[in-house]
Amino acid sequence: MARGTAQRVFRMTLLVAASTAACVIPLPSWLDPARPAFLSITLLWLVFAGPKPAGLLAAWLTGLLLDLLQGGMLGQNALAMVVTVAIALKFRLQVRAFPPLNQAVVVAGLLFIYEFLIFWTDGMAGLPGRGGWRWLYPLTSALLWPLLAALHQRALGRH
């Protein structure tokens, strides 16, 4: 059993490291606004499909990691992430039963809420806007959801 736990921790670390790398790996600048939110998707997948849901504290720490990676205001992504994951946890049992395509729609909605929180805190802090392209990535993330969910499933060795 201890070996199983160790293995799971190892796979989890790999999964988080891969999603983090996917968040910052250089893309051509025209493609960059469409980059899916890999870390958010990973957390949402753990909630909706994973063997064990991600906790709120883990979500908060992941948000902080994103804040540091993006060089933005500390706590901004942490707030958005923790609220998004809390909503996901609330409706977890319903959404788990959905087919992947319907789940993708839910994910898009949650990521819109996420980006709205970033938009709102940007405004509160007096940071300049980022333009309309900021609302694009929830859609691209949702389009990738079925594929990424399948990949994640494989990464954790479950079928």
């Binding site: 910052v24 600048s29 990676l69 060089g71 500390l74 706590g75 901004q76 990535y137």
Partner: protein, 296 residues
Amino acid sequence: MASRQDHDIRPLLVSGPSLAARLFVLVIASGILMIADHRAGYLDALRSALMAALYPLQRSVDAPFSAARWMSEGLATHSMLRGENGRLAEENRELRLRQMRLDALERENARLREASQTTARVIDRYLVAELVRLDMDRLRHRVLVNRGSTDGVYVGQPALDAQGVFGQVTRVGPVSAELIMISDPAHALPVVINRTGMRTIAYGRGNLERIELPFLPGNADIEPGDLVVTSGLGGVFPPGYPVGEVEELLKEPGEQGLRVTVRPLARLSSDPEVLLAWYDNQVQEPEAPSDGAEVP
């Protein structure tokens, strides 16, 4: 037994504070963090430490790219190197020729400035910093470089490349620093139109190919091709360094002003390294007139 444990999906039996209570605590914590970081700047030391902790991870993402660069340099053929060498020698000859003229002009300029009691503020020291190939934020133009406070890098330090102004340092870690590029929507740069001496401010618009001068009057003397240089106002950038070339004048119907787009000269999208510059930014104010106009 192990598999039952693995497949247990019921979080309902977990004891401890409720979801709402945990959410409340973490939301408050985020709020406090945001205020402490953004408004008060209390977290600079913590941030610097966290940047150092994160740096190995960021380097490891960059590693395949720098390895590929290194490989392609290693595999450069003899003829490619000879070609490049010839090109560089030619460029060097041309630059030396221009330098000769420049030396004379500089001396003349110094003589003239002596007369008006101000000093020319020019870059006297620089450090080459390599960009870590990372995309930090989707719609913001920030980059990470491999120099930090141990190299003497400071917040607000100007960064240039061989063609023009690149940006400035926003955060410093021990071995890394974050730069904001002149094309970032949060960046404003005091500039002067070289031909006419008209001063204005250049704003980033989140586009690597273009920055804007939004506040010019409709009858401003400006044309496409004009060189835009730093004005040195604001004290971050030394004056007289090239920023970009005027590209287009947009007159919007119903608007009084003119919106001018400028193409940055610095290669914002492709440059693998930048120069972090030091210069003496102590402005020497001219002596107050002796006939007794007291300045409070």
